[in-house]
Point group: C2
Chain length 342, copies 2
DNA sequence: TACATTTCTGGAACCGATTGCAGACGAGGA
DNA sequence: TCCTCGTCTGCAATCGGTTCCAGAAATGTA
């Protein structure tokens, strides 16, 4: 492994000049720059990022804390974040923050503290106030996806508005007997999501003068089996069956559709279903959905932290930014069957 | 940010002693150790991993190169790898190696080279010989999941045996008209997987004296929509419909089942379906499958590289290790209907 | 008691870069 | 012609630890 000294010798210049030539800052004549560059490539020289970090104080690493990896929404965020970081020359350090209390505190107390990352992106964390303030206390640029999170600039769709939009779509089609299948508060997600989507649902009902009661809402796991279970439960009893279901996520919606199919309930003739996400499987199931783009949200979060890193003194203008979400019509929603039950 | 010097001053000892006390190597009396520890915690001191890496040459980082993130198999591997790494005090640097040629070369030529990782885990990469040798040339411990990969110790299920097992299960049930839905060679995966599973399928047919011809095999995308499309195509024509389908992955199998349901073909009465993976959705679809455990494979890969890192001179005994995969029976397979077509 | 070991500690060199400073040089302006 | 300013380069200090070495203290052994 050749060091900067070897390159300097070979190019017949000093270490300082090599450093300036390769990093591109400071004055170097183009002729020596070329000498240095060819010497470096002949030796296969690459800078030691450790040595360089030591003096500059910059690691070129960004830490990403995420509660789940193996789920479409989260996986897409990681993909988006990774691409954006690599594009900008940063490395991505991944921390999967599960519910495991030991692992959690280890991440906060050991890993994040060790001056190894320049910035942090926190993805829809259900995070304790202690944990949030220990993040802020690092004094590093932070961005969150989800939230809002105390003291941290965050980014997400407007969950209330998205849920309202979905529900309004059903109402506009003429549905009056609508149920919401939402998230389980014990899930490994920023619980704001669940309560806000429920809120948007309720808002839309209220605005249309439709009643909301204990039977209008079922909580389940935020995945296909969760939606399936909820669907079986809801649709099993023909007398209290709604004509439309707003599922808080497409995976849940797909589960509901599978349950409906199994019960011989036709979608959308007997039951309209709408979700949120525009999941890749939505097409296959003809699922009408409110589209959001997690990969892009990941990129935006990267922008947020990188800009803080690279333009001194810049801080994000808003503590919470909402990104657009719009309706994607497919075949799982339609007007209720004429003379439908109740 | 207080440095080691401040701790030394406060504890009334030298930098050297602080370093020994906190790192636990070398002799330190327990009394001074305590002095140092309390001084350190009072100051909120944490070592600079850069400075420490600079002299030790160890970064405590492991790079993970993976072609896809947002897919069950890959996501599970990442989860397993992450957990195992954090447990052992290492950080995970994630590189998503897509087909994008620019991004690829950037990862190989820029990121991996910069002395930032102690070891590398390469996950089912479709990797060029050049890329493989540039990995080996880094001279760092490497482990692969998938493979075999030239010169790199790898780890996977025995794909041929798993495919044979699946096919034999169908044959044992009495099926003689079996098709295989496998992976598309253009997919972003180690193509070995596809050809080996096809191989195992052919082996099992041959061993049972069953014919294999061009109509026995369909290639498609390795996901649910891919399986659905293949299913529609295969099952659409009643006259050449098989009584059983072996799908090379559970996601594909689920797609096939969805297609069958849509065509009114009963699983397993009219069609048996088996997959590989034991995907979390297998339960929901009653899918019989050959189970493998990607999270555990991730952990094993971590073991492989960490052991190389921490026990000098140790190298993995086998260039390729196979991990077990066993049949999980559910309701998607059964004997063919008596007097079934052809 | 004398000597050999083991434990403990500090000084100083070192890891491999970056950067402030100062000196040298050439070009343009007065 | 003399000055100033911008360009170019090298020296040396610095980032924040780790570790070799040597000497002192404590412990064990003959």
């Amino acid at each position: 492994m050749s060091g900067i000294e070897d390159v300097a010798l070979r190019a017949g210049v000093s270490k300082a000049t090599v450093s300036r030539a390769l990093s591109g800052r400071g004055y170097v004549s183009s002729i020596t720059r070329h000498k240095v560059e060819s010497a470096a490539s002949e030796l296969g020289y690459v800078v030691s990022s450790n040595a360089s970090s030591l003096v500059t104080g910059r690691t070129n690493n960004v830490g990403v804390i995420i509660p789940v990896i193996n789920q479409w929404f989260f996986g897409s965020i990681i993909e988006g974040v990774e691409r954006a970081l690599i594009d900008r020359g940063y490395d991505l350090m991944l921390y999967n923050l599960t519910k495991d209390i030991d692992a959690r505190s280890r991440v906060f107390e050991y890993f994040l503290v060790r001056k190894r990352v320049d910035a942090i992106i926190a993805v829809t964390l259900e995070i304790s106030p202690d944990e949030a303030s220990s993040l802020v206390a690092l004094g590093k640029p932070i961005a969150g996806i989800g939230g809002p999170l105390a003291g941290i600039p965050t980014l997400s769709i407007d969950d209330i508005a998205a849920a309202r939009l979905a529900t309004e779509h059903l109402i506009a089609l003429g549905h009056t007997n609508i149920m919401h299948v939402g998230g389980d508060a014990a899930e490994l997600m920023d619980f704001n999501v669940h309560s806000k989507r429920l809120q948007g649902f309720m808002d839309a009902l209220a605005a249309a003068g439709l009643p909301f009661n204990g039977e209008s809402y079922v909580a389940t796991h935020f995945d296909i089996p969760g939606g399936y279970a909820a669907g079986k439960q809801i649709l099993g009893d023909p007398r209290r069956r709604p004509t439309a279901i707003f599922a808080a996520a497409d995976e849940v919606a797909i589960g509901v559709i599978l349950a409906a199919r199994e019960l011989g309930i036709s979608v959308p003739d007997d039951l309209s279903v709408i979700g949120i996400d525009n999941h890749p499987l939505a097409d296959l199931f003809g699922l009408t959905s409110i589209a959001q783009n997690p990969a892009k949200q990941g990129e935006q979060a990267v922008d947020l932290v990188i800009r803080q890193l690279e333009t001194a003194g810049w801080t994000p203008p808003n503590i919470h930014t909402t990104v657009p979400a719009q309706l994607v019509m497919r075949s799982s929603t339609s007007a209720p069957r004429a003379g439908s039950p109740r």
